[in-house]
Symmetry: C2
Subunit: 332 residues, 2 copies
DNA sequence: TTCTTTATTGGAACCGGTTCCTTAATCAGC
DNA sequence: GCTGATTAAGGAACCGGTTCCAATAAAGAA
């Protein structure tokens, strides 16, 4: 592979002149022609590392994600990647396998790699996170979680949870199960539940809400939902993710419960597959790709030293489909 | 941020000694202690670029993928990332949005970034690909596609297609529809179809197979499947991906066709959600994560100059579930 | 015609590491 | 006590770019 020195020698000029040519300094038309020709012929491409060494930064944005096999993550990454490409950055992905220690480790490793900025799709923000973020001298953007000391982009899970809770309560459901995940994931495990709880609590009258917990896995959700139908026999099950809802629908099917006649089910996320379910699933659509775009734009600005809002909310909307039925009192 | 020179000065030794300490050269116990202390205090971490500049390579493996919102891709990436981490590499992801030009571009860009190796999840291998792969002087591993001149890891789509075709034919189906995608994706669009076609052709007797085409999108698949039911009214629909099968099931539901009593449906991929469908979907499971592991191991070996088989097949197996029924002649 | 000014260009230093070479010091063997 | 081997450490060169500074030449001003 050719270096800038080779090009310079072949073109009969100095390294600095070639560098100037490449970076738009003052070079005569004549020399420009010569250098252009040589570069054309040799297919020369500057070594990005040598450049970064001097510039002390790269055009790589690191993203740290808890898992790759998640609709939310891959959609968000798509958005990030798309926008980043437009802005002439590359995306380096670090998967942590939902391991908190590795999340911290990765922050330091990315810093060592001298990435220009870091987008952190965290599940939780601990003191160790804050310490790491402070120590490395690199802009960090939090996506999906929020902390006052860090630039954050959140999905407003609480309001969304409230919206779906309100919707279900307004349809006359009195016995509502909430199928969620552990509180280690603040956005999904805490915020969504909290918003939902708030909504149903406003219908104090005679609504009974019960909270159940499972993992992010569909099959675990199916199993838990199966038990839940026996224990509680709710008229509606509000699930904290679409995958859980898919599991719940499976369980209902196995218990010979008809959706939505016997039990209404809702999801959370807006995965494409929810439209294909039978019946199609009422859910909250979160605009992950759009959020990814925003995240990329924000981190790019931060890298350039420009300012962005400390906290940004992404959009969501309710998608009303077939899996929810109206319940009037006399039917109960 | 401190440099090695700072550390050396503080510890009262030469840069080279610190470097030797870090890389396990001969350093006296006494100096080791001194340097260790200083590094501890300052939180010094070597600049990865300066290291790469000298070493002329990085510990980053670039992966080029057509799309992120695909089960196959994200599973494969998971596998790659997991194994790569064990081997002390990082994964740089470049998404091409199914744009062939960008696939080529990305090969060059990654080369400029001096990644140690490239894993290419291509949809097709053109001359431009081969040219790019040759020009950059970096090991490349093809995943999901195969070419004689490039190290390849393939999913043996043809054999798998044959297996599912055989299975359906043996269950007595006589009118079989194959719902596939365009031939621009060689593995999915060509190989799977070819294997299937071979299998049914061996049941020359009275099997009628018809081939239909759609995109990778579930909703497009649902629409196409809807038409197909009207045009052809098959007793079985073999789909080239699980997403297409999900679309087909939706279409069947809308047409009031019962699965599998009226029509059998099969998928391809083994996505988790197929187990949750009602009825659950018979499909071919491809071991994407495992393939990712293998891909990572192979590229690491290639980077180190070790040899690996030019062509490796990943495993697959048939998962027999509820969506396929036996057809005996008198029922038709 | 001579002095400035301006446009190009070359040379050298630097970014932060690694590595080769040399020297100094310690130690064993005779 | 002297010689050769071995270990520890420093110094300098190098990786492949960028950038600052000085030098030269050409052009414009006086």
């Amino acid at each position: 592979m050719k270096t800038i020195a080779d090009i310079a020698k072949i073109a009969g000029v100095a390294k600095s002149t070639v560098s100037r040519y490449l970076n738009g300094g003052s070079v005569s038309e004549e020399t420009k022609k010569k250098i252009e020709l040589v570069i054309e012929e040799t297919g020369y491409a500057p070594n990005a590392f040598a450049q970064s060494l001097k510039a002390k930064k790269t055009n790589i944005i690191g993203t740290i994600i808890p898992r790759l096999d998640s609709y939310a993550t891959s959609r968000t990454l798509m958005g990030i990647d798309e926008r980043l490409r437009e802005l002439n950055y590359h995306m380096l992905v670090s998967n942590t396998g939902q391991d908190l220690t590795r999340e911290i480790e990765n922050i330091y490793t990315l810093a060592k790699q001298k990435v220009a900025g870091i987008i952190l799709l965290a599940t939780e923000v601990t003191d160790a996170h804050l310490k790491a973020i402070q120590e490395i001298d690199i802009p960090v953007l939090l996506v999906g979680q929020q902390h006052d000391n860090v630039y954050s982009l959140v999905h407003d899970d609480e309001t969304a949870g409230y919206a779906i809770g309100k919707y279900i309560a307004q349809r006359g459901h009195k016995k509502i199960a909430f199928l969620g995940v552990g509180e280690y994931d603040v956005a999904v495990g805490v915020k969504r539940k909290k918003g939902f709880a708030q909504a149903v609590s406003e219908h104090t009258a005679d609504v009974e809400a019960r909270f159940f917990e499972t993992t992010f896995s569909m099959s675990d959700a199916a199993e838990r939902a199966g038990q839940l139908f026996d224990e509680f026999s709710p008229s509606a099950v509000v699930c904290a993710t679409d995958n859980l809802a898919i599991g719940a629908m499976k369980a209902a099917y196995q218990k010979k419960l008809r959706v939505p006649m016997d039990v209404s089910i809702t999801g959370f996320g807006g995965y494409e597959v929810t439209a294909m379910m039978n019946p199609s699933l009422t859910t909250v659509r979160i605009h992950f790709t759009e959020a990814g775009h925003t995240a990329a734009s924000h981190i790019a600005k931060l890298v350039k030293g420009e300012d962005v809002p400390k906290l940004t909310y992404s959009r969501f909307d309710l998608i009303l489909r077939e899996s929810v039925d109206i319940r009037t009192n006399h039917l109960l």
